[in-house]
């Protein structure tokens, strides 16, 4: 045996970067990438347009409303004044409806009435001295229009507006959480949509590689783990390019159409951190699902086989999304913890948590856990690849036939 031991190998990371650089460049400069970029924009444009219509519908259905609690006569004067000003005031006027007739001298607890949450704010007192009770935002926004309506009700001129007394009510924790749930749901849905669009890219990659018969050169030169990591990194990079392009275009559309973002309540960790965590959790979710898809892709030889074999994984993604969405509503329960621990639902559950809970330590732990899972899945995938794929002769054909036959039986 040779006495001198010659050593020389690339580190797994360096080897992965060689593969990643090649794949990233090849995909980015391919003609099909342009179509890939443009493809999802058509549905997005349609969705934004449809969303605009939908928003109008929703706006009319859920317009914030002022509940009037005055004497019958005053209430009638106020609603008549509001209706007479509508269309000619030049500013949007709040919707008003009588919620209680208050006899003169009778006490009315506006704060207690607000808790019923069927109105956004309550106008009490008289048209001469109106009292507006409600959340800070609405009190500030409606003070002017209410003053105008009260002046109209009193028959006063524009120089004799009634002074509106305001009482600010702080939103209860429950209401705040309910709003943040919408933000959490939005973040989860966005993450899921991106995953559905982008994760499939990984699938066809190894099939193409096997078609080109490059895979054996890669497997001989560097560890299979490095090949898998390289492909995942490349696809992740391509995904970020796609997201950047789509994000810019959607952002421009949203800005042009009127900001939609402020309509979502601010997440518990704040918008900048939510975006940062969104990027991290997208990367984690992508690497996790991607490693699974790579293992499948490595076992398949044709696109058709890939489609057949990936269907259960796609279904699993859907189930996973619904599970994480449901778990989000059960904060602190065993269900939420399960969603966080199960690797594939973990990024979704944690992103929702970021919208609902300001604590950051769980994110550090969850990201570490997800990273461990990525490494384990890639190792398992590459081991499976080496074990099942790199055989010469007729054996692999027999195995593939067996596997496909099993899948068909299962589906049938």
């Amino acid at each position: 045996m040779s006495k001198s031991v010659e050593t020389g190998r690339l580190s797994t990371f360096a080897a992965a970067m060689v593969v990643a650089r090649r794949d990233f460049t090849a995909i980015l400069f391919s003609r099909s990438f342009l179509f890939f970029l443009l493809g999802p924009l058509f549905p997005v444009v349609v969705a934004v347009m449809a969303g605009g219509v939908g928003q109008r519908v929703q706006t009319s259905a859920e317009t914030p409303r002022i509940g009037i609690a005055m004497s019958g006569e005053d209430a009638l004067r106020m609603t008549t004044a509001r209706d007479s000003l509508a269309g000619s005031a030049g500013i949007p006027l709040p919707d008003m409806r009588v919620i209680a007739e208050v006899r003169p001298g009778e006490a009315f607890d506006a704060r207690a009435r607000l808790a019923k949450a069927d109105t956004t704010a309550i106008l009490s007192g008289t048209p001469a001295s109106p009292v507006l009770t409600g959340p800070q935002r609405w009190v500030e926004e409606w003070r002017g229009p209410v003053s105008l309506i009260a002046a109209q009700a009193e028959g006063n001129g524009p120089r004799d507006y009634a002074k509106v007394e305001t009482q600010v009510v702080v939103a209860k924790r429950g209401e705040s959480r309910s709003g943040r749930l919408k933000t959490a749901q939005g973040a989860q849905t966005l993450l899921f949509l991106l995953m559905m669009i982008l994760a499939g890219m990984v699938l066809s990659n190894l099939v193409e590689e096997k078609g080109n018969k490059i895979i054996e050169i890669l497997a001989a030169a560097i560890p299979m783990d490095a090949v898998f990591f390289g492909k995942l990194f490349a696809m992740l990079g391509v995904s970020f390019v796609g997201i950047a392009v789509w994000g810019s275009m959607v952002g421009a559309l949203v800005l042009a159409a009127g900001s939609a973002l402020p309509s979502l309540p601010a997440p518990a960790v704040g918008w900048p951190l939510l975006f940062a965590l969104g990027v991290v959790y997208f990367a984690m979710a992508y690497l996790l699902v991607g490693s699974l898809f790579l293992a499948i892709g490595s076992l398949a030889t044709t696109v058709r086989e890939v489609q057949t074999m990936s269907m259960p994984v796609t279904m699993l993604q859907l189930i996973n999304f619904f599970f994480a969405s449901f778990a989000m509503t059960e904060a602190g329960s065993g269900l939420e913890i399960a969603a966080i621990v199960i690797p594939f639902s973990s990024p979704f559950a944690m992103l929702a948590r970021a919208a609902l809970d300001p604590g950051l330590v769980p994110h550090v732990l969850a990201i570490a856990w997800q990273l461990v899972c990525v490494v384990v899945f890639v190792k398992l995938g590459s081991r499976l690849f080496r074990k099942r794929v790199m055989q010469s002769g007729p054996a692999p054909v027999r195995q593939r036939r067996k596997l496909l036959s099993r899948l068909r039986t299962a589906r049938g």
């Binding site: 018969k213 050169i217 001989a220």
Partner: protein, 326 residues
């Protein structure tokens, strides 16, 4: 070194080994594709793994390179137990050639080099030099899909060598090459060996192994019945004697070996273990009248038949009837 217990000692035990494998076994679905293979490849040698398709050549090479792991057995390559630990010193040309169709030739070569630790910039510079040397300089910036099959194969061979490996492994390197390119590749392999690079290749064409190899491993049915120098393999079969006599019959005939067969005035038989001299003496004393006498050493083909068996030899011939005749 010895391929197995039966193989004779060829006296290379003192030579440093580039590859040493002992008892390699690989099963697929219970079928033993490779069943206890021993191989020792001396540094700087041209070593052939000779056998018909399905004999276990590719699986053996894949195990040696760490592409797949053996179910049992050990392997050491360039002194390392794990082949990937010395990957930057190894070049590999798989049987199924493959390149990225959209890549330029120069980038494809540099990429394969980069996988073996060669910086991309250096790889590109060397790729241009090597393409020029091989008369393909004009195609350096062409995409692989724009090259002919032969050119693409040459690009891949260059990619195998661009990082200047100490050990080069070729799996069926002559398949698909025309005679001209086969000759070029043979010269390239000899040139590599001349610089101290170890070359190991698999083939089902005996002529290539016979022309190129210092040593061979004959593989059939996943086993290696012989591993050693080509000379030792040929010596497994006694040399064949062709004797022409004036006399048809006489007492001298008793001196001929038992396997002697007669065709007219010619006698054919294996060279006796005692050598030719006692026989010659008996022929002269018996007045046989020797007209001509030739002793032909057995070829590698005959050795293969004797070692691997008729069935393996027939399989080998069936796979490459044209190439065998070369």
């Amino acid at each position: 070194m010895a391929g197995n217990a039966d193989a004779p000692d060829t006296g290379t035990d003192t030579v440093p080994l580039a590859i040493e494998a002992r008892g390699l076994v690989k099963r697929f679905d219970g079928f033993a594709a490779v069943d206890g293979v021993d191989i020792s490849v001396p540094e700087g040698a041209i070593y052939g793994i000779l056998g018909p398709n399905g004999a276990g050549k590719t699986t053996t090479l894949r195990m040696l390179l760490g592409i797949i792991d053996p179910d049992s057995g050990t392997r050491r390559i360039l002194g390392a137990d794990r082949p990937h630990d010395v990957a930057t010193r190894i070049g590999y040309l798989p049987e199924e050639r493959g390149l990225y169709p959209a890549m330029k030739a120069v980038d494809a070569i540099a990429f394969v080099g980069a996988l073996r630790g060669l910086p991309l910039k250096t790889g590109r510079a060397r790729a241009r030099e090597l393409l020029e040397e091989h008369g393909l300089g004009y195609a350096a910036d062409r995409q692989i899909r724009q090259l002919s099959k032969g050119m693409a194969q040459q690009v891949q061979i260059i990619g195998t060598l661009v990082h200047r490996p100490r050990l080069v492994v070729f799996d069926e390197p002559f398949s698909g090459l025309d005679a001209l390119n086969q000759g070029r590749l043979e010269r390239m392999m000899r040139d590599l060996a001349a610089t101290g690079t170890t070359v190991i290749f698999s083939t089902h064409v005996i002529a290539h192994a016979e022309r190129l190899c210092d040593e061979v491993a004959i593989i059939a049915g996943g086993k290696v019945p012989f591993a050693g120098s080509v000379d030792v393999a040929r010596d497994r079969i006694p040399a064949q004697v062709r004797l022409e006599t004036r006399a048809i019959d006489g007492a001298w005939r008793a001196a001929l070996p038992a396997d002697a067969r007669n065709e007219g005035q010619f006698w054919y038989f294996s060279l006796p273990e005692t050598g030719i001299e006692p026989l010659l003496r008996a022929l002269i004393e018996g007045e046989a009248g020797i007209l001509s006498l030739s002793i032909e050493r057995a070829g590698l083909h005959d050795a293969f038949v004797a070692i691997a068996g008729e069935a393996a030899a027939r399989a080998l011939e069936a796979e490459s009837p044209v190439e065998q005749k070369r």
